[in-house]
């Protein structure tokens, strides 16, 4: 992966863009979900707290009311005297009972029991014979307490009891207030959300009231079991909010259906996941396109460079950009263009050299034949006692040998020898009508020069300079001008015609036939050493001429090195 990222500029951009776009999106995705769940849960929590408070308030009010009513009844002399008298027919007691319990009767039944546990009076319907044990249940707890005592009724409901005592604490009877399920429904029914359920459990979590009428006992039992085994009361579907009711020691439980049930959570997770996937796809597409767009010029440049490396110099980057990439492209184009031109130039040089070489090779056939012939002539001259012929043939043969030898460069000393041979021949031909002089310092003798480079200049001086003179004079000299070796051929002949002189100075150096020697020398020197080298001439009609050949000063040792 790391290698893949590092392998390309585009991959780096791709991964960076992917992370930069994906992470914030995923973050938002998760945060939105967390905030949605959190806020909804805290709202529900708050709601449950408020509802529990309201329920507690109502329960407090009820207990306060019952406490007041039962205390009134227990303290009433009518009740006491009726109980002391016995029987269940005291009209006065009924009057007091109905009067005191008026506010309670909508949700509660108030009953009066005698000291033996027989029911004597009731605010409810018919008075059936009923007796309760005084040693157990509500009557016992009432008897043991001076105030109001609370108990879960045998049928679901609440029973509150208070003993009626004489002034010397003797128990005359009991007042019981039953609040059945229906009573609680009236009392608490609108105190909590319709979807919620309320449990009122006694001190050991036995059911007093449950607002849900179906499977009530099972629910209470399972809550109690969960509490005792230390498990969480809540399951995936309901949250439970608990509050201890201080006055009675009972526990109020609010059961609230969860908004985020497992099924809802599954779909929330699913939605979140889908959103995440969408983010991923979007980011991938964005990263892909952006990385492609950004890396395109770099890739183009890279590709073009690759092609250049493989030898394709015709690559041209077309771009209308004016930024750094645009400038880089332009630079690249400029570079390849220059390279291309250089290459073309060097190819041209090579071709010309080859052509010259070829023509020289072609020319080698004749010199061989000529050389052999000259050799024969020399021996003919010797045997026939014509020494001039022999000398001429020897010089010519030496010149020819030099011409066909494979070496391209020779020392100036050797070159001067060849020139001397040439001049020997010409002096025989011109019957000694000219003299020559060589003025080359010893230090230049080992300079390397192209083979037979001086001969055309000397030939030019002889043919076009002093040919028609009786006392011609040719001087060869060598000097240096900086790093440049200057070889000069001077004559005192008729001079170079101005036309030729002009052409020699022009860049093309086109020469008419007969003066090709100068041009060739010039070309050879320029091809070998560069444009700054070549020949130049000074001349005026009738006053002779001086032709200079400029070469780099290369010594034999340097060449070897």
């Amino acid at each position: 992966m790391r290698d893949w990222i590092k392998s390309s500029f585009r991959n780096r951009i791709f991964v960076t863009v992917l992370l930069v776009t994906l992470l914030p999106m995923l973050l938002c995705d998760v945060l939105v979900m967390l905030i949605a769940i959190g806020s909804s849960e805290s709202l529900l929590y708050q709601q449950a707290g408020e509802e529990l408070e309201e329920l507690e308030r109502r329960l407090d009010a009820l207990i306060e009311q019952v406490d007041e009513v039962t205390a009134d009844l227990a303290g009433s002399t009518v009740v006491r005297s009726a109980l002391r008298r016995g029987g269940s027919d005291s009209k006065l007691l009924y009057q007091v009972l109905y009067q005191k319990t008026e506010a309670l009767r909508s949700c509660a039944v108030v009953e009066v029991y005698d000291a033996e546990g027989e029911r004597c009076y009731t605010s409810g319907g018919s008075l059936e014979e009923l007796s309760l044990p005084t040693g157990l249940g509500p009557l016992r707890s009432a008897g043991e307490s001076t105030g109001l005592s609370f108990q879960a009724d045998t049928e679901p409901g609440l029973v509150m009891s208070r003993a009626v005592r004489t002034y010397d604490e003797e128990i005359l009877g009991y007042i019981l207030v039953h609040i059945p399920r229906s009573g609680f429904d009236t009392l608490l029914g609108d105190g909590f959300g319709a979807a919620n359920d309320v449990f009122l459990l006694d001190g050991t979590w036995r059911q007093v009231y449950c607002s849900d009428s179906i499977h009530t006992q099972e629910k209470v039992d399972s809550l109690r079991r969960a509490l005792l085994s230390g498990e969480s009361l809540g399951d995936g579907y309901y949250s439970f909010y608990l509050r201890r009711h201080q006055a009675s020691g009972f526990t109020l439980i609010l059961q609230q259906p969860k908004v985020y049930t497992p099924a809802v959570m599954t779909s929330v997770y699913f939605a979140c996941l889908m959103m995440g996937l969408l983010c991923l796809i979007l980011s991938l597409v964005c990263a892909w396109l952006l990385s492609k767009y950004l890396s395109k010029p770099v890739n183009q440049l890279d590709e073009a460079m690759g092609r250049v490396e493989k030898g394709d110099y015709d690559v041209e980057l077309i771009s209308d950009r004016s930024d750094e990439m645009g400038r880089l492209n332009a630079s690249f184009n400029r570079m390849t263009r220059e390279y291309r031109q250089n290459l073309e130039r060097s190819v041209q040089h090579e071709r010309e050299l080859n052509e010259t070489e070829l023509s020289m090779l072609q020319a080698q056939l004749n010199p061989h034949f000529l050389y052999n012939t000259l050799d024969s002539m020399k021996w003919l001259g010797v045997t026939n006692h014509v020494p001039q012929v022999a000398a001429m043939a020897t010089s010519l043969a030496a010149l020819l040998r030099a011409g066909i030898s494979g070496e391209k460069f020779i020392t100036l000393e050797q070159e001067l020898e060849l020139v001397e041979k040439y001049l020997d021949i010409q002096s025989m031909r011109f019957e000694d009508r000219f003299t020559w002089e060589t003025d080359v310092d010893e230090k230049y003798q080992h300079c390397l020069v192209p083979k037979l480079i001086l001969q055309p200049l000397v030939e030019n001086a002889v043919i076009h300079g002093i040919a028609n003179m009786e006392d011609g004079y040719i001087k060869l000299s060598a000097s240096t001008r900086g790093e440049t070796l200057v070889l000069a051929v001077e004559d005192n002949g008729q001079g170079i015609p101005p036309e030729i002189l002009r052409r020699l100075k022009s860049p093309e150096r086109e020469m008419p036939a007969g003066h090709l020697g100068l041009r060739n020398v010039d070309r050879i020197v320029r091809l070998y050493y560069g444009e700054e080298y070549g020949i130049s001439a000074i001349s005026s009609p009738g006053m002779g001429s001086r032709v200079e050949l400029r070469l780099p000063e290369v010594r034999k040792e340097d060449e070897n090195a």
């Binding site: 992470l23 959190g38 040693g135 157990l136 006694d202 001190g203």
Partner: protein, 332 residues
């Protein structure tokens, strides 16, 4: 890059933690401490244990956890030792004494009040209530000459009309059979053979079926516990109870504290509560049972034999084996 991945994982962690949060309030604050708990195994019916346990909880504030089942089944669980049970409530005195090795002896503060015949010799169990064996008959079908005692069960006149549960299955039925054998004069084996023959091949699967079988008329007379019969009468069945003239047994059921239990103190509190005068007084009124105090008026009027508990225990396997053979013979 690595940091980014780390941040992403941290966010996922927060996300998971957020999901784990629920709206529940801390409920453990409402759970009682170990000192306020008691685990009871009971073979009693709900109408017996529920008022007792509610009252006990109300008085003491101790939270009772309950497991119900057959007495033999529960005793077996306790005997295996791997149990959280503190108190075994229910089971005959004979069964409880058979498993006395599982129990920690306790002498209730009301021990003095208990009639000597119901007290356990070693205190391994405490008696709760006395359950006499009685005869019942259908008052519509039997108008003349109702049964008078165990002898009637051997009377060929009732052959095939007797409701009796299989003693191999029902503990109370076995007690009834032993009472019959002990109360009747003469050879017990002969009487056993005679009684088996007189059933005429009819044997009810459960002691609970006896009252029903008599009330609906498929049987004329039956042998069962007084508690069951009284409940049936209260439910409006046309049956009548006959206390055998030969005398009958009134075996106690009881409760026992499991040895090495977690809440022994609370278990003892329950035994004291169950033997308290208020509860004992309630037994005849509310539960159709007799108090083990002995001062019970109802029990005084019943002729009781001196039930040989040891014989009944020691002979159980042989007796039931013989019974099985005889009954198959009678069926055949």
């Amino acid at each position: 890059m690595k940091k980014m991945i780390a941040v992403a994982f941290a966010l996922l962690g927060i996300f998971a933690a957020g999901c784990a949060r629920t709206g529940d309030m801390e409920s453990s604050a409402f759970a009682p401490g170990e000192g306020r708990r008691l685990v009871i195994y009971t073979s009693h019916k709900q109408e017996v244990y529920q008022p007792l346990i509610r009252e006990f909880e109300q008085r003491t504030g101790i939270w009772v956890e309950l497991k119900t089942g057959g007495s033999t089944e529960l005793l077996e669980i306790i005997a295996q030792g791997d149990t959280d049970c503190d108190l075994m409530l229910g089971g005959g005195a004979d069964s409880l004494s058979a498993y006395s090795f599982c129990f920690s002896p306790y002498h209730s503060i009301y021990e003095e009040n208990i009639a000597p015949e119901y007290r356990s010799s070693d205190g391994s169990y405490s008696p709760f209530s006395a359950l006499p064996v009685v005869l019942i008959y259908n008052t519509k079908l039997v108008r003349m000459n109702p049964p008078t005692g165990f002898a009637s069960l051997l009377d060929p006149a009732w052959r095939g009309k007797i409701a009796f549960a299989d003693p191999a299955v029902s503990g109370s039925s076995y007690t009834g059979l032993c009472t019959l054998l002990q109360a009747l004069p003469g050879d017990r084996n002969e009487n056993l053979r005679c009684f088996a023959a007189n059933l005429g091949g009819r044997l009810l699967p459960s002691s609970g079926d006896v009252v029903g079988a008599v009330a609906e008329g498929s049987c004329y007379i039956g042998l069962t516990l007084e508690e069951t019969a009284l409940k049936g009468m209260d439910a409006g069945y046309d049956i009548a109870i006959v206390y055998p003239e030969e005398g009958t047994s009134a075996l106690a059921d009881g409760a026992a504290v499991v040895a090495g239990c977690a809440h022994e103190g609370n278990a003892r509190l329950f035994i004291d509560f169950m033997l308290s005068p208020e509860v004992q007084q309630l037994l005849p009124e509310e539960f159709y049972r007799h108090s083990v105090y002995g001062g019970d008026d109802g029990l005084k009027n019943i002729e009781l034999i001196d039930y040989e508990l040891d014989w009944a225990s020691s002979q159980q396997s042989t007796l039931l084996e013989t019974w099985g053979e005889l009954f198959e013979g009678a069926q055949g």
